[in-house]
Amino acid sequence: MPNLEHSAYPAATLLRLESLVPCRESQVSMLLSIFGERQQFSFPSIFIYGHTSSGKTYVMQTLLNTLQLPHVFVNCVEHFTSRLLLEEILIQLQNRSSETKQAAHVPCDTFNDFVRLFKQAVVSQDLQDQTIYVVLDRAEQLREMEANILPAFLRLQELTDRNVTVVLLSEIVWELFRPNTGCFEPFTLYFPDYSIGHLQKILCQNHPPEYSADFYAAYINILLGVFYMVCRDLKELQHLAALNFSKYCEPVVRGEANERDTRKLWKNIEPHLKKAMQTVYLREISSSQWERLQRDEGEAGQLKGLSAHAHVELPYYSKFLLIAAYLASYNPVRTDKRFFLKHHGKIKKTNFMKKHEKTSNHLLGPKPFPLDRLLAILYSIVDNRVAPTANIFSQITSLVTLQLLSMVGNNDQLDGPRYKCTVSLDFIRAIARTVNFDIIKYLYDFL
């Protein structure tokens, strides 16, 4: 395990830093060596990438804060336009010395302005002889801003002629960033995923004060055994650990087992965690509801998850419109005659099946269909006569806003709108059952 060493910083600070960033020592020492000493020019831009919650943001923040390096930390999702982003950087830079009151807000519309104002800010904050770090979190958002923003940030050092380093943090690789006009290549650094051992170590660090570290470590071990297969997100795991710990402690609190009785504790917690995986983890029921359930010893069966409420009540004709749309989406046009004409004669499936239609239409997904076809099918599947009233047409639009149908292509009403049915087979079968319509009989795939 490499100990952090750097001549520019006191050893005590480095030791503290090391304790704060477990399992990321090699990356931190790499960064430290790139940064160099305070006054030294560093690499103009650094690109750090790695999977969700691999500690990118956390490591950068602790590093800059512990070493008290002048820095600006901006989230690109939060500042969604280039103007907001640039202004935020300037504001943070100006407010570094906290005693100065919020400086008059200066509008900054272009990168040119930004460079000018940036230089002013550096002078006013008296930072000429130190490297300033501009960290852009969630940098993938930069690609959606004006084309000049990303290349300009990459060579900010050159443009401003100041000692500044831009650090980009992202979850995707650099190759997806590179603009086709070319740009300055940043130094890329990869943060690998935490291994199970790493996770164990990090999670154990924050054990509750009432219990011993060993006891908590055993709990984390069980937790990881259940959840590691589905979730490697450190934040999520920590959340789950906190949620279920009280249940784990229950036998100890009641005095039925002592802290070392691992087997008993495991028996108690394991089914509980499995249930948690199907409910809380998927956000089927919320964590506060989960906690209340634990407290009240209620059965989780009483509380239905979000997916349990899949039933949608629709007006009578909306149901038939949806059924008609489903049929139009999943049946080939040629087969309409066979399904909806009274005297279609005997057409066997094999006779009129084309080669490419051998694959199930349900595997291929819904196909778009024109409005006329939808209405024609509707008129033939509803028993009584349906008048083409304005209400019918507005119901189609409501189905689109409810996202049960989706409009395909352009919105030109004159051009004959085309739709797709987006509901699942289970859903449409449930709907069809309520109006006594045997939809399977009308689907080409199930012939």
Binding site: V77, E87, N206, S286, P315, P388, D415
Partner: protein, 714 residues
Amino acid sequence: MSVGSVSKGCFVFKPSPKKRKVSQKTADYFREGNSDSEDSELRFATCQSLWKHVKLETEQIEEDLNTQLFDNLVSFLRRSHSEFQEKTAEWNCRMKSREIPTAALVLGVNVTDHDLTFRSLSEVLQNRVTPYVALLQAKDCPGIKNLMQKLLGQLMNCYVDVDSSEEDDYVQTSQNRIRCSMTSLITWYESVTKKTDFETPSKKRTSSRHWQSPPVVVIFKDMESFTTKVLQDFIVISSQHIRELPLVLIFGIATSPMIIHSLLPHSVSSLLCIELFQSLSCKEHLSTIIDKVLLTTQFPLKLSEKVLQVLINIFLYHDFSVQNFIKGFQLCIVEHFYTQPLSVLCCHQGELKKRINSLSHNQCENIRRLPSFRRYVENQPSEKQIALLTTDSFLKETVQRLLEDLNVYHENYFPVLRCLHVFTSSLPKYPLGKQIRELHCACLENRVWETEEYESFLQLARMLNKCDLVTMLQKCVEILMSSPGKEFDKTVEKLKEFLTQFQKLEAEACQERDESVSSQKELQKKTDLYHLQKTLLELKESRRSKKLTKFEMLRFEVVDYIDSVVRNYLVPADHKTLHEIVYFNTASVLREHLNAAPRVALHTALNNPYSYLKSQALRSDGGSISNKAPDICIVYKLHLECGRLINLVDWLEAFSTVVTAVEGPNADAPSSDQVDDVIHARFIRAVSELELLGFIKPSKQKTDHVARLTWGGC
């Protein structure tokens, strides 16, 4: 307002000084264009006051129905952030990630009703939880930027509303240059909450109904319509600031809560702490409205069976919207008072006498013309007939008596209807409908006891077991006791008598059971097969010919009595004299207005212009095309005969043939193969009009062809 200009442009209108006159207008409309302008002002006033009452009543019902839901939501909001405020130091809370409390509010597909629900919800929240409520709509938020703008605008405006006007200029200045970011929202929130801390004690009292640092509630009215990206971005951003800004989200969901999972990926939905809330289903809502508004004597206006059926059908078949149902009812009210001059008598009992006495001679004639009244007159002795037809004062007396009768009929009708519903709703297969509205329609339609369903109801009722029968009877007694009708004393007594008889039976039943047990014992004694068979046959025989038990007798009696009550009180309304005055029954008007068929109307207009233009020359006979019809009609009729693609040249030729057909004899020689320029121009104009109406569109598949966009004659 009309402008004397053909061109499009911006016109300035100074607000007219006589604003009062505008409100007068509606009353004038009511009078104008109506041949029977008798008492129109009074009718208008009655109509207005009736509608006002109905509106108040329905709003009250709505509020009552929503209380439960809103209470749950309020307690959720109270809970959501308090936990963190109380014990931030605890290990558990430090380790848990701070999720955004989110209420998924499932409201059903009747989107038109949601507006009202949300409005009252935000009112409730502002009164009880927090002044900071923002309502967002998908159509205002195509991007995250617009969303933030709307959010900031709404929140900061509400701040102005809460406080006095001294801060006006501060907000004014900041609003212009506000940066639409979360940081500015947080600074605003901090400044607002800090201000309440330093407030004068007098002001503190008002703010005490909200607690310290009240949550900021953001309501997404129509979750389904929001784009995924906007929602995701917003949730990600706000989750980063949840510690500084106690935010609570409310998702208004029309379909099912599954939509959350389909809109948001796990990485985003894991930032939320979602709890589910479900509003009352709109069907139940409608039942309550019908029960409380239509099935009472509270409002003098009643709906006939057909009208009610139209309204209910629109609800069930098309939109599930309770608001639209109420709007439909409003239309009925207006239409009834507008078209029926005698509706002036459709008022509460107290005013009736005065209004009858002030009826003019014309109105008396109107009464004499009513079909139900004529039927009534015909059944009277001849001297009375003459008096009724000639003497206004006698007529007025009779009318007053008849209307009072009608009122009594209603007072009796509804309680008895409810009693009958108690029976029918618990029988298997619901012979007369599960809902009371279906029963009501059946009773209004014709004599309910003549229908087959009623027969099967009686048969099923004769098979009820005792326990059910007793509870039903008890319910009926309750209903009848609580009704204002005066004639029910005897009925109630009779029902109570039945109940006591049932109780007596219970005692006797014990004895009977003993008897049957003894016969069972006898059976067990017989071991010989032959004897056993014999006794079994005997038993069967005796059971078949057995006299009815006392319970069965009593049951028959009860059912017969119920039947007699029904026959007595549930007479259809249109058998009653003067029912036209209080019943609105022109269903066709209602259907035309509420369930319009634009395609059909367009087709009729183009295919048979006479139906709208009413010019004798256009009176067509059969399918021939008259050249006197407007050009577009001719073009339309010709295009109906074509396939999907229409050749323009052929079409033009056909058009010119039709147009010149009759004029032909005068001047046929000069233009035989050359089409006249004027005709050509008329044709082009007609075709482009058809294109504008959406019947055809230019096609690229074939040159000189246009494509039809409709099939058949609708």
